[in-house]
Point group: C2
Chain length 151, copies 2
DNA sequence: TATTGTTATACTCTATAACTATA
DNA sequence: TATAGTTATAGAGTATAACAATA
Protein backbone atom coordinates (compact mmCIF):
# COMPACT_ATOMS: atom_id res chain seq x y z
CA UNK A 1 0.00 0.00 0.00
CA UNK A 2 1.22 3.53 -0.73
CA UNK A 3 2.16 5.93 2.03
CA UNK A 4 -0.85 7.65 3.52
CA UNK A 5 -1.22 11.13 4.92
CA UNK A 6 -3.69 12.55 7.39
CA UNK A 7 -7.03 13.75 6.04
CA UNK A 8 -7.34 17.16 4.36
CA UNK A 9 -9.86 19.76 5.49
CA UNK A 10 -12.52 19.00 2.91
CA UNK A 11 -13.12 15.74 1.15
CA UNK A 12 -14.98 15.34 -2.10
CA UNK A 13 -13.94 12.20 -3.95
CA UNK A 14 -12.77 10.07 -1.05
CA UNK A 15 -16.17 9.22 0.51
CA UNK A 16 -17.32 7.90 -2.85
CA UNK A 17 -14.18 5.75 -3.07
CA UNK A 18 -14.66 4.44 0.48
CA UNK A 19 -18.23 3.43 -0.32
CA UNK A 20 -17.17 1.53 -3.45
CA UNK A 21 -14.11 -0.12 -1.99
CA UNK A 22 -14.59 -1.54 1.53
CA UNK A 23 -11.03 -2.87 1.41
CA UNK A 24 -9.60 0.63 1.00
CA UNK A 25 -11.90 2.02 3.69
CA UNK A 26 -10.81 -0.76 6.03
CA UNK A 27 -7.13 -0.01 5.51
CA UNK A 28 -7.54 3.73 5.97
CA UNK A 29 -9.62 3.28 9.11
CA UNK A 30 -6.96 0.92 10.42
CA UNK A 31 -4.10 3.37 9.99
CA UNK A 32 -6.02 6.06 11.86
CA UNK A 33 -6.97 3.70 14.69
CA UNK A 34 -3.55 2.04 14.92
CA UNK A 35 -1.84 5.39 15.21
CA UNK A 36 -4.22 6.47 17.97
CA UNK A 37 -3.76 3.15 19.81
CA UNK A 38 0.02 3.33 19.70
CA UNK A 39 0.01 6.95 20.88
CA UNK A 40 -2.41 6.23 23.71
CA UNK A 41 -0.48 3.16 24.81
CA UNK A 42 2.84 4.99 24.87
CA UNK A 43 1.31 7.83 26.86
CA UNK A 44 0.60 5.22 29.49
CA UNK A 45 4.13 3.82 29.41
CA UNK A 46 3.37 0.54 27.67
CA UNK A 47 3.30 -0.67 24.06
CA UNK A 48 0.29 -2.28 22.40
CA UNK A 49 2.19 -5.55 22.07
CA UNK A 50 3.21 -5.50 25.75
CA UNK A 51 -0.37 -4.82 26.73
CA UNK A 52 -1.65 -7.76 24.67
CA UNK A 53 0.86 -10.14 26.21
CA UNK A 54 -0.02 -9.11 29.77
CA UNK A 55 -3.71 -9.40 28.92
CA UNK A 56 -3.36 -12.86 27.49
CA UNK A 57 -1.21 -14.13 30.36
CA UNK A 58 -3.83 -12.86 32.82
CA UNK A 59 -6.55 -14.64 30.85
CA UNK A 60 -4.96 -18.01 30.15
CA UNK A 61 -2.05 -18.36 32.59
CA UNK A 62 1.67 -19.03 31.89
CA UNK A 63 2.48 -19.75 28.25
CA UNK A 64 5.57 -20.16 26.09
CA UNK A 65 6.67 -17.28 23.87
CA UNK A 66 5.74 -19.51 20.97
CA UNK A 67 2.16 -19.90 22.22
CA UNK A 68 1.88 -16.16 22.83
CA UNK A 69 3.20 -15.51 19.32
CA UNK A 70 0.73 -17.80 17.62
CA UNK A 71 -2.32 -16.73 19.55
CA UNK A 72 -1.62 -12.99 19.34
CA UNK A 73 -0.35 -13.16 15.74
CA UNK A 74 2.91 -11.49 16.72
CA UNK A 75 6.07 -12.82 15.06
CA UNK A 76 8.19 -14.83 17.50
CA UNK A 77 11.27 -12.73 16.71
CA UNK A 78 9.29 -9.65 17.74
CA UNK A 79 7.96 -11.44 20.82
CA UNK A 80 11.55 -11.66 22.09
CA UNK A 81 11.78 -7.88 22.32
CA UNK A 82 8.36 -7.51 23.90
CA UNK A 83 9.24 -10.13 26.54
CA UNK A 84 12.59 -8.39 27.12
CA UNK A 85 10.89 -5.10 27.92
CA UNK A 86 8.23 -6.70 30.10
CA UNK A 87 10.90 -8.62 32.04
CA UNK A 88 13.00 -5.46 32.44
CA UNK A 89 9.91 -3.72 33.87
CA UNK A 90 9.38 -6.66 36.23
CA UNK A 91 5.97 -7.45 34.73
CA UNK A 92 6.79 -11.02 33.68
CA UNK A 93 9.29 -13.73 34.63
CA UNK A 94 10.81 -16.16 32.17
CA UNK A 95 10.74 -19.50 33.95
CA UNK A 96 12.05 -22.60 32.23
CA UNK A 97 9.32 -25.09 31.45
CA UNK A 98 10.47 -28.27 33.28
CA UNK A 99 8.53 -30.41 30.81
CA UNK A 100 10.27 -28.89 27.77
CA UNK A 101 13.47 -27.10 28.54
CA UNK A 102 13.60 -25.45 25.12
CA UNK A 103 10.59 -23.33 26.06
CA UNK A 104 9.99 -20.71 28.70
CA UNK A 105 6.89 -20.55 30.84
CA UNK A 106 6.31 -16.82 30.61
CA UNK A 107 4.67 -15.91 33.90
CA UNK A 108 2.80 -12.78 34.97
CA UNK A 109 4.14 -11.20 38.17
CA UNK A 110 2.10 -9.32 40.78
CA UNK A 111 3.58 -6.08 39.41
CA UNK A 112 2.57 -7.17 35.91
CA UNK A 113 -1.00 -7.78 37.03
CA UNK A 114 -1.08 -4.33 38.63
CA UNK A 115 0.35 -2.75 35.47
CA UNK A 116 -2.32 -4.48 33.41
CA UNK A 117 -5.12 -3.28 35.69
CA UNK A 118 -3.71 0.23 35.41
CA UNK A 119 -3.38 0.03 31.63
CA UNK A 120 -6.91 -1.33 31.18
CA UNK A 121 -8.30 1.81 32.78
CA UNK A 122 -7.64 4.08 29.82
CA UNK A 123 -8.92 1.61 27.21
CA UNK A 124 -12.66 2.39 27.47
CA UNK A 125 -11.97 6.11 27.29
CA UNK A 126 -9.62 5.55 24.35
CA UNK A 127 -12.17 3.43 22.48
CA UNK A 128 -14.83 6.03 23.21
CA UNK A 129 -12.69 8.76 21.71
CA UNK A 130 -11.49 6.74 18.73
CA UNK A 131 -14.92 5.41 17.77
CA UNK A 132 -16.77 8.60 18.69
CA UNK A 133 -18.37 8.74 15.24
CA UNK A 134 -20.24 5.49 15.95
CA UNK A 135 -22.98 4.76 18.47
CA UNK A 136 -22.54 1.92 20.95
CA UNK A 137 -24.78 -0.32 18.85
CA UNK A 138 -22.76 0.50 15.73
CA UNK A 139 -19.49 -0.31 17.52
CA UNK A 140 -20.83 -3.69 18.53
CA UNK A 141 -21.99 -4.23 14.96
CA UNK A 142 -18.53 -3.33 13.65
CA UNK A 143 -16.80 -5.62 16.16
CA UNK A 144 -19.12 -8.48 15.18
CA UNK A 145 -18.51 -7.97 11.46
CA UNK A 146 -14.75 -7.81 11.92
CA UNK A 147 -14.82 -10.88 14.13
CA UNK A 148 -16.71 -12.77 11.45
CA UNK A 149 -14.28 -11.56 8.79
CA UNK A 150 -11.32 -12.78 10.85
CA UNK A 151 -12.67 -16.30 11.36
CA UNK B 1 1.93 -2.03 16.29
CA UNK B 2 4.02 -5.19 16.62
CA UNK B 3 4.82 -7.41 13.67
CA UNK B 4 1.97 -9.71 12.77
CA UNK B 5 2.04 -13.22 11.39
CA UNK B 6 -0.58 -15.18 9.50
CA UNK B 7 -3.22 -16.99 11.53
CA UNK B 8 -2.43 -20.35 13.15
CA UNK B 9 -4.58 -23.43 12.51
CA UNK B 10 -6.70 -23.17 15.63
CA UNK B 11 -7.54 -20.05 17.56
CA UNK B 12 -8.68 -20.00 21.16
CA UNK B 13 -7.90 -16.70 22.82
CA UNK B 14 -7.88 -14.44 19.80
CA UNK B 15 -11.64 -14.33 19.08
CA UNK B 16 -12.23 -13.21 22.65
CA UNK B 17 -9.63 -10.46 22.21
CA UNK B 18 -11.16 -9.34 18.90
CA UNK B 19 -14.58 -9.05 20.52
CA UNK B 20 -13.25 -6.91 23.38
CA UNK B 21 -10.98 -4.72 21.29
CA UNK B 22 -12.50 -3.49 18.01
CA UNK B 23 -9.33 -1.48 17.38
CA UNK B 24 -7.19 -4.62 17.36
CA UNK B 25 -9.71 -6.49 15.23
CA UNK B 26 -9.74 -3.60 12.77
CA UNK B 27 -5.96 -3.60 12.43
CA UNK B 28 -5.71 -7.34 11.97
CA UNK B 29 -8.48 -7.40 9.40
CA UNK B 30 -6.72 -4.58 7.60
CA UNK B 31 -3.40 -6.42 7.31
CA UNK B 32 -5.13 -9.47 5.85
CA UNK B 33 -7.13 -7.41 3.37
CA UNK B 34 -4.24 -5.10 2.42
CA UNK B 35 -2.01 -8.06 1.67
CA UNK B 36 -4.68 -9.65 -0.49
CA UNK B 37 -5.32 -6.37 -2.32
CA UNK B 38 -1.65 -5.79 -3.06
CA UNK B 39 -1.19 -9.34 -4.28
CA UNK B 40 -4.27 -9.22 -6.49
CA UNK B 41 -3.29 -5.83 -7.92
CA UNK B 42 0.24 -6.96 -8.76
CA UNK B 43 -1.09 -10.11 -10.41
CA UNK B 44 -2.87 -7.76 -12.78
CA UNK B 45 0.23 -5.68 -13.43
CA UNK B 46 -0.79 -2.59 -11.50
CA UNK B 47 -0.32 -1.33 -7.95
CA UNK B 48 -3.14 -0.29 -5.62
CA UNK B 49 -1.92 3.30 -5.67
CA UNK B 50 -1.74 3.36 -9.46
CA UNK B 51 -5.24 1.96 -9.65
CA UNK B 52 -6.60 4.62 -7.31
CA UNK B 53 -5.01 7.43 -9.33
CA UNK B 54 -6.43 6.14 -12.63
CA UNK B 55 -9.83 5.72 -10.99
CA UNK B 56 -9.87 9.24 -9.59
CA UNK B 57 -8.71 10.80 -12.85
CA UNK B 58 -11.48 8.97 -14.68
CA UNK B 59 -14.01 10.23 -12.14
CA UNK B 60 -13.01 13.88 -11.77
CA UNK B 61 -10.83 14.70 -14.78
CA UNK B 62 -7.27 16.14 -14.89
CA UNK B 63 -5.85 17.11 -11.51
CA UNK B 64 -2.49 18.18 -10.08
CA UNK B 65 -0.40 15.63 -8.21
CA UNK B 66 -1.10 17.73 -5.14
CA UNK B 67 -4.86 17.36 -5.57
CA UNK B 68 -4.52 13.62 -6.15
CA UNK B 69 -2.35 13.35 -3.02
CA UNK B 70 -4.80 15.16 -0.79
CA UNK B 71 -7.91 13.44 -2.02
CA UNK B 72 -6.45 9.92 -2.04
CA UNK B 73 -4.48 10.44 1.20
CA UNK B 74 -1.25 9.41 -0.49
CA UNK B 75 1.85 11.38 0.44
CA UNK B 76 2.94 13.72 -2.36
CA UNK B 77 6.48 12.27 -2.31
CA UNK B 78 4.96 8.83 -2.93
CA UNK B 79 2.68 10.24 -5.61
CA UNK B 80 5.78 11.15 -7.63
CA UNK B 81 6.71 7.47 -7.98
CA UNK B 82 3.17 6.41 -8.78
CA UNK B 83 2.92 9.06 -11.50
CA UNK B 84 6.34 8.01 -12.82
CA UNK B 85 5.20 4.42 -13.28
CA UNK B 86 1.86 5.42 -14.80
CA UNK B 87 3.61 7.75 -17.23
CA UNK B 88 6.16 5.06 -18.14
CA UNK B 89 3.24 2.71 -18.90
CA UNK B 90 1.63 5.42 -21.03
CA UNK B 91 -1.46 5.57 -18.81
CA UNK B 92 -1.15 9.26 -17.91
CA UNK B 93 0.49 12.36 -19.33
CA UNK B 94 2.00 15.14 -17.23
CA UNK B 95 0.88 18.32 -18.89
CA UNK B 96 1.88 21.68 -17.49
CA UNK B 97 -1.04 23.62 -16.09
CA UNK B 98 -0.96 26.90 -18.10
CA UNK B 99 -2.69 28.70 -15.23
CA UNK B 100 -0.05 27.64 -12.67
CA UNK B 101 3.19 26.46 -14.17
CA UNK B 102 4.36 24.99 -10.88
CA UNK B 103 1.68 22.32 -11.14
CA UNK B 104 1.04 19.53 -13.60
CA UNK B 105 -2.35 18.69 -15.01
CA UNK B 106 -2.11 14.93 -14.71
CA UNK B 107 -4.21 13.61 -17.57
CA UNK B 108 -5.60 10.16 -18.25
CA UNK B 109 -4.70 8.78 -21.70
CA UNK B 110 -6.84 6.47 -23.82
CA UNK B 111 -4.49 3.62 -22.85
CA UNK B 112 -4.91 4.58 -19.20
CA UNK B 113 -8.67 4.44 -19.52
CA UNK B 114 -8.41 1.00 -21.10
CA UNK B 115 -6.04 -0.18 -18.37
CA UNK B 116 -8.48 1.06 -15.74
CA UNK B 117 -11.41 -0.75 -17.37
CA UNK B 118 -9.30 -3.89 -17.48
CA UNK B 119 -8.20 -3.53 -13.85
CA UNK B 120 -11.72 -2.88 -12.61
CA UNK B 121 -12.79 -6.27 -13.93
CA UNK B 122 -11.05 -8.28 -11.24
CA UNK B 123 -12.17 -6.06 -8.36
CA UNK B 124 -15.66 -7.55 -7.80
CA UNK B 125 -14.20 -11.06 -7.85
CA UNK B 126 -11.42 -9.97 -5.50
CA UNK B 127 -13.88 -8.35 -3.06
CA UNK B 128 -16.06 -11.45 -3.22
CA UNK B 129 -13.15 -13.67 -2.31
CA UNK B 130 -11.74 -11.37 0.38
CA UNK B 131 -15.07 -10.72 2.09
CA UNK B 132 -16.41 -14.23 1.54
CA UNK B 133 -17.13 -14.60 5.27
CA UNK B 134 -19.72 -11.81 5.05
CA UNK B 135 -23.05 -11.68 3.23
CA UNK B 136 -23.75 -8.88 0.78
CA UNK B 137 -25.86 -7.08 3.36
CA UNK B 138 -23.07 -7.39 5.93
CA UNK B 139 -20.51 -6.01 3.48
CA UNK B 140 -22.69 -2.98 2.87
CA UNK B 141 -23.10 -2.59 6.61
CA UNK B 142 -19.33 -2.77 7.10
CA UNK B 143 -18.70 -0.24 4.34
CA UNK B 144 -21.26 2.13 5.85
CA UNK B 145 -19.75 1.83 9.34
CA UNK B 146 -16.23 2.41 8.05
CA UNK B 147 -17.39 5.36 6.00
CA UNK B 148 -18.98 6.89 9.06
CA UNK B 149 -15.82 6.24 11.08
CA UNK B 150 -13.69 7.98 8.45
CA UNK B 151 -15.80 11.13 8.34
C1' DT C 1 15.03 -34.20 12.07
C1' DA C 2 12.08 -30.66 14.26
C1' DT C 3 11.18 -26.95 17.64
C1' DT C 4 12.12 -22.76 21.04
C1' DG C 5 14.21 -18.76 21.73
C1' DT C 6 17.41 -15.61 19.73
C1' DT C 7 19.95 -12.60 16.53
C1' DA C 8 20.87 -10.46 12.18
C1' DT C 9 19.53 -8.73 7.85
C1' DA C 10 16.88 -6.97 4.18
C1' DC C 11 12.92 -4.84 2.52
C1' DT C 12 8.78 -2.03 2.65
C1' DC C 13 6.15 1.72 4.53
C1' DT C 14 5.95 6.22 6.37
C1' DA C 15 7.53 10.83 7.93
C1' DT C 16 10.43 14.61 7.33
C1' DA C 17 13.33 17.82 5.49
C1' DA C 18 15.43 19.90 1.90
C1' DC C 19 15.88 21.72 -2.92
C1' DT C 20 13.99 24.00 -7.67
C1' DA C 21 10.89 26.51 -10.05
C1' DT C 22 7.33 29.07 -9.91
C1' DA C 23 3.64 32.18 -7.59
C1' DT D 1 6.77 34.20 1.73
C1' DA D 2 4.29 30.20 0.13
C1' DT D 3 3.29 26.28 -3.03
C1' DA D 4 4.07 22.06 -6.61
C1' DG D 5 6.99 18.69 -7.70
C1' DT D 6 11.13 16.19 -6.60
C1' DT D 7 14.78 13.83 -4.05
C1' DA D 8 17.08 11.89 -0.09
C1' DT D 9 17.15 10.00 4.34
C1' DA D 10 15.76 8.06 8.67
C1' DG D 11 12.72 5.35 11.30
C1' DA D 12 9.25 2.02 11.95
C1' DG D 13 7.13 -2.45 10.66
C1' DT D 14 7.68 -6.91 8.65
C1' DA D 15 9.72 -11.18 6.58
C1' DT D 16 13.35 -14.35 6.40
C1' DA D 17 17.14 -17.02 7.46
C1' DA D 18 20.36 -18.69 10.46
C1' DC D 19 22.15 -20.36 15.01
C1' DA D 20 22.38 -22.92 19.83
C1' DA D 21 19.98 -25.71 22.94
C1' DT D 22 16.80 -29.19 23.38
C1' DA D 23 13.33 -32.66 21.85
Amino acid sequence: MPARTSAPDRATYFPQLAAERPDIALCRASTVVARAAETAAHEHGIGVGQHLVLKMLAAVGPRSQQALSEELRIDRSVMVGIADELERSGYIRRERDPADRRAYAVTLTAAGRRALTQAEKYIPEFLDRTFAALTTAERDQLAALLGKLLT
